[in-house]
Amino acid sequence: MKRRVSAEVILNREIAPSIYDMWIQPVQKLPEVNPGQFIGVFLKDKSLLLPRPISICEVSADRTALRIVYRIAGAGTHEMSLRRPNDGLGYLTVLGPLGNGFPLERGEGKRALLIGGGIGIPPLLELAKRLKAEKQIVVGYQNCNTAGFLQKDLAQYGTVHVATEDGSVGTKGNVLDAIRQKAPEADILYACGPMPMLRAVKAYAQEKGIPAYISLEERMACGVGACLGCVVKTNKVHHHTNVNNARICTDGPVFEAGEVDI
């Protein structure tokens, strides 16, 4: 039987305003993680009932530790940000890995473009590490305050292009502006970020006639496919739901852009 597991907080530091970099070590070795999968983080505060779905940023080489990079978006992530290694609050409780990740085999040996916007950047790191392809990475930040988080980590695995809304670093504008300006040729796209960015990525992939795998986000409750809270509209009747929508938590969070109506 699968269970929630306890995990020790090894590191938890602010790497940009309100953005935290956390390494955790579950007491049991984790099942294999696919890039793009996520974990549910359960909180100490019992008034906060639901697990927070947080994408996995990186897995240690020996698969004993996980890295998550998250933004404080509310009371739950705020509580997470207060945790310190050996703070006496015991372990963090997590469930996972959950969902399906990015399909690595589709990009193997090809020219892959990895696109991340804001807090959608973290899952690209494990993807960049594991994807056996010619990789170009485009990341977008709001402004110079947040610009640069995870940039050096990503640069180990491919050429990184940066866009900032205010133009303080890299291309002025969004990731699509950077892509059009730098014009890296690609056979396949992998993306995670805010919905307007994903819509633009989908349109770009259609224009170029290439596949795009996008990671979606939605308010979740169970995280395991039971509650049907986090659905996305699909273009065809989905085999599980038998209607035109799919569960982001279990059928996703990564979908081929053409499958979903975003």
């Binding site: 039987m1 699968k2 269970r3 929630r4 359960f42 019992k46 008034s47 906060l48 009932l49 639901l50 697990p51 739950g76 469930l95 939605e218 308010r219 979740m220 409750a221 169970c222 995280g223 395991v224 496919g225 039971a226 509650c227 049907l228 809270g229 986090c230 659905v231 996305v232 599980h240 739901t241 038998n242 209607v243 035109n244 929508n245 279990t250």
Partner: protein, 302 residues
């Protein structure tokens, strides 16, 4: 120690069930919970045809609970009978199917199809979902309407019928009596309480549906009170639910008059909650030397 209970002639190995809509058809939770240990799996509501449900966001967390406005998304009775029933048949647990519809005819169609399925032990009729515009709660907020649909379903049902009641009423006892007089074999309560959350930063409703059903520990005292009032109004058995997180919560419902309990929103807070609740009930029985679980039902005193 005997945890068995009997509701409308159906014997359950223990009183722990799953609240409809929080447990799918058991498939998703079979990875976390030994379904053989549960008294019953109560499935997500199923209609005569597939329902796509409401737009997202469909869920929002609130203090001590959550709001949902899923809108009864379901794959329809055909897929349900082909896929979900064969899956559930593999386990040594009772299957209770929750039935939803927009019209009386919709409900009857599903009830008749399920009548041909011997693996279905009981039917639970959803007349209390606050998140769909037609059907559902429209039948559950008026005693005459509740009575009418109960009678019609009883005319067609081959399994015992549980009417799932809404807390969004003035007098739960009146509704409980209406269902009993119309022939219901059991009652389950409470469904979610209609609520609302506003995101003050965006100045938008947290749910696309604007309103949603509140569930979780925040509603437990209301649920216990309503189970108590319903239990005193009717003779038919009651399945109690509303924020049950552990054995102590479950015992509270039993003492208030419930014959069984369902775990709902707390499945999301810990996928193993159903087993935690069962273990907790057994610990309570051992600690207080309760030989038969049925001795606890309605045993609260002044």
């Amino acid at each position: 120690m005997n945890t068995q209970i009997t509701i409308a002639g159906v014997t359950f190995k223990n009183p722990v069930m799953t609240a409809s809509g929080t447990f799918g058809s058991g498939m998703e939770y079979a990875e976390f919970v030994d379904l053989n240990r549960l008294g019953a799996v109560v499935t997500k509501g199923v209609a005569n045809v597939p329902w796509p449900g409401n737009p997202t966001p469909r869920v929002a967390e609130v203090y001590g609970g959550m709001l949902n406005a899923i809108g009864l998304q379901n794959p329809g009775i055909d897929v349900f009978l082909e896929r979900d029933i064969p899956f559930l048949k593999q386990f040594d647990t009772k299957v209770i199917v929750n039935v939803c519809g927009r019209t009386v005819q919709d409900y009857v169609e599903v009830v008749e199809r399920l009548g041909e399925e011997p693996a279905v032990a009981m039917l639970e009729i959803n007349v209390s979902c606050p998140n769909v515009k037609e059907g559902a709660i429209a039948f559950g907020q008026n005693a005459d309407a509740l009575s009418g649909i109960t009678r019609e379903i009883k005319r067609h049902a081959r399994q015992p019928v549980i009417m799932k009641l809404s807390p969004n009423v003035t007098d739960i006892a009146e509704m409980a009596k209406a269902a009993e007089e119309a022939g219901a074999d059991a009652l389950s309560l409470i469904n979610t309480i209609m609520g609302m959350k506003i995101d003050i930063r965006k100045r938008k409703f947290a749910l696309a549906n604007r309103t949603g059903g509140l569930s979780g520990p925040a509603i437990k005292p209301i649920a216990v009170r309503m189970v108590y009032q319903a239990a005193h109004a009717v003779k038919i058995p009651i399945i109690g639910m509303g924020g049950i997180a552990n054995g102590e919560d479950a015992v509270e419902f039993l003492l208030a008059g419930a014959s069984a309990v369902s775990v709902g929103a707390m499945n999301f807070a810990d996928p193993c909650t159903t087993e935690v609740v069962l273990d907790g009930i057994e610990c309570y029985m051992r600690r207080y030397k309760v030989e038969n679980l049925s001795d606890l039902i309605g045993a609260v005193e002044d």
